[in-house]
């Protein structure tokens, strides 16, 4: 570097060191949600390149599935996308039912829809609340957590647990809905609406919020499609791909709901898409309650896969044997492989399962929507500044359990 006292015509002739700086945004970082390590190559504050290193929550889901029975996958599946556990449960049930060709009663289907959409509500609330908090708006986070606790109360009443319910079963659900489910659910919808409205009032005219989300983390539709993005990340770029509409499952073709689509692919679009999807989820739940039959079983009566009624188990030898074999050996799907996909909280949640005809799964692969979304985050971050990493990363809703499995 040249001494200062020398005359220069302009400063550009000074030789300044210009190597990019490497900065580690380590795994234990609040903005990284604790499980992603980003090694940033910085030019001042601008990100030139980022090496995203996941795997800090790799808990061996796929290998663990191979060591139990098919029904023992449910607790592991719950903890994949742990903010919307019912969606994972339902997704896995649908996959095995597709392979086994089990038909479940309508009551079960609508029940699954309702619980799944409640889980989606909880997921989108958490994501937006956390994004707001990380941008400094702590109050909406508290409102959203208050509302989310009510949703969890509902789920606790139904399934027994606030969060990781393990409520799905192959061929049905673990228990029928409680008598006051409908009233309790519909009672909190106005509260959810109010919390969202107040959050929007606080945030959407706030200069800081808008500056930090609009135009930041942009993604083009072509890039998103080629990268394998699905869910809100893809819809915010303008592609309206929602599994519930393109490949309807579980009576979604009978519900009247819209799919919110953005156009810029930036953080703001993702934030707004999530809130809109939340409102659509509430709409779906109301319709599902109207359509759901009030009586009837929530499990299929296929004895090969579903546990028999306890009365039969205790009083008939066939029931005892069936119960024993289903629990000890596991239910036995026919050999084959199947890929079943549903709309998870983050996008297309797919389960590719391979069965060798025994009670133990041979291979369970979950297609994690946020795995490919996270890979796309790199493109979104290049060119932005360090401070933009926080809202961008928050808006893709990377859930460690699903991403790293």
């Amino acid at each position: 570097m040249e001494p200062f006292y020398e005359e220069h015509e302009d400063e550009t002739s000074l030789e300044l060191p210009a190597e990019p700086m490497k900065l580690n945004m380590g795994p234990s970082h609040p903005a990284m949600h604790g499980t992603i390590r980003m090694v940033l190559e910085l030019d001042g504050e601008t990100v030139r390149d980022v090496d995203i290193q996941p795997g800090y929550l790799h808990r061996g889901f796929e290998k663990s599935c191979e060591r139990g029975t098919w029904a023992q996958v449910f607790p592991y599946a719950d903890r994949l996308n742990y903010v919307s556990p019912m969606l994972n449960n339902v997704g896995f049930s649908l996959a095995v039912e597709k392979l086994c060709e089990i038909k479940v009663p309508d009551r079960c289907t609508y029940y699954r829809v309702i619980l799944g959409e409640l889980a989606r509500i909880s997921d989108h609330l958490t994501c937006n609340g956390a994004t707001a908090m990380e941008l400094g708006a702590f109050t909406p986070f508290l409102w959203i957590i208050k509302v989310r606790d009510w949703v969890w109360d509902l789920l606790e009443q139904e399934t027994g647990a606030r969060m990781t319910h393990s409520f799905g079963r192959i061929g049905g659900m673990a228990a029928p809905p409680t008598p006051h489910f409908k009233e309790a659910t519909l009672a909190i919808f106005p509260e959810i609406d109010r919390a969202m409205l107040e959050t929007e009032k606080l945030l959407l005219h706030n200069r800081i919020f808008l500056d930090r989300t609009q135009g930041i983390g942009k993604l083009t539709a072509e890039r998103a499609i080629a990268m394998g993005c699905t869910g809100v990340v893809l819809r915010s770029t303008g592609v309206d791909y929602d599994v519930r509409k393109t490949n309807p499952y579980m009576h979604y073709d009978q519900f009247d709901f819209d799919v919110p689509v953005g156009h810029d692919g930036d953080n703001y679009d993702r934030f707004m898409c999530r809130f809109e999807e939340l409102r659509q989820s509430m709409k779906i739940i109301k319709q599902a309650f109207d359509k759901m039959p009030n009586t009837g079983s929530v499990t299929s009566d296929d004895v090969r896969f579903v546990l028999p009624d306890k009365q039969e188990v205790y009083h008939t030898i066939e029931g005892t044997i069936a119960h024993f074999k289903l629990v000890m050996e596991g239910l036995k799907p026919p050999p084959g492989e199947v890929y079943s996909f549903t709309e998870g909280g983050n996008g297309e949640l797919g389960f590719y399962i391979v069965s060798d005809g025994s009670g133990t799964p041979y291979r369970v692969r979950v297609r994690p929507p946020c795995w490919y979304n996270l890979r796309t985050c790199r493109e979104m971050l290049i060119g932005d500044m360090i401070a933009d990493i926080i809202p961008t990363f928050g808006s893709i809703n990377m859930i460690g359990g699903e991403c790293d499995r």
Binding site: H33, G34, T35, G55, L57, G60, V83, I145, T164, G401
Partner: protein, 216 residues
């Protein structure tokens, strides 16, 4: 505190003990937390900080310090996998004494049901733990129990590991005290019958008095 010994006051240890108590009191009510949040338990951690449970603010433990140099309570929330182990150990080593560690959740306490190649079977294999809060995920009330347990430990200066015990429903405790529900019901029945007899005796006495009045 008990009776004060003149000898203690004379050599000053009375004041140092009180002073130590004061320091311990101030430490327990002003914990600076380092939330090392990884997995599902993080959602319950969010709820814990939320308006319903208002967990940590009530106990003075709300201020999160995302630098280990400034924190004294390490909340290890969620599964710690082998890849994350060096990070956890380093964070713990960078904290300054006195430091406390709470293992939030089963995965942090013992690895949970992720007993496989990827997970550390409990963070106590890597760092010493003060309080274990079991649960998958633990209810926020259980975590508050853990925090209060930690506070007691800080007050008494105890550094051994403690586990949050499961809470019983009061009815269950009551039932356990009696030998069986049948006996409970029988006792209840006897009590009711005794009351009925007393009431009818009182009523009969009253009628008798009335009759006597009428007769007169």
């Amino acid at each position: 505190m008990g009776a004060v010994n003149l000898a203690d006051v004379m050599d000053g240890s009375f004041f140092t003990t009180r002073f130590e108590d004061l320091i311990a009191w101030s430490r327990r009510w002003s914990l600076f937390q380092y939330p090392f949040v990884t997995a599902c338990c993080g959602m319950e951690f969010m709820s814990l900080n939320g308006p319903r449970y208002d967990g940590l603010a009530r106990f003075g433990a709300e201020a999160p310090r995302f630098s280990p140099r400034q924190a004294d309570l390490l909340w290890v929330v969620g599964t710690i996998v082998q890849k994350q182990g060096p990070a956890l150990k380093r964070i713990y080593e960078q904290m300054m004494e006195p430091k406390y560690v709470v293992a939030f959740g089963t995965c942090a306490s013992c690895g949970g049901f992720y007993d496989n190649y990827a997970t550390i079977p409990g963070i106590d294999k890597v760092i010493p733990v003060d309080v274990y809060v079991p649960g998958c995920p633990p209810r926020p009330e259980a975590v508050l129990d853990g925090l209060m347990l930690l506070q007691e430990k800080i007050q008494t200066g105890d550094r051994g590991p403690r586990i949050v015990p499961p809470k019983e429903l009061p009815r269950l405790t009551q039932l356990k005290k009696k030998t069986s529900t049948v006996l409970l019901a029988l006792e209840e029945q006897k009590r009711l019958e005794a009351e009925k007899e007393r009431a009818s005796a009182l009523l009969a006495a009253q009628h008798h008095d009335d009759d006597e009045l009428v007769e007169r």
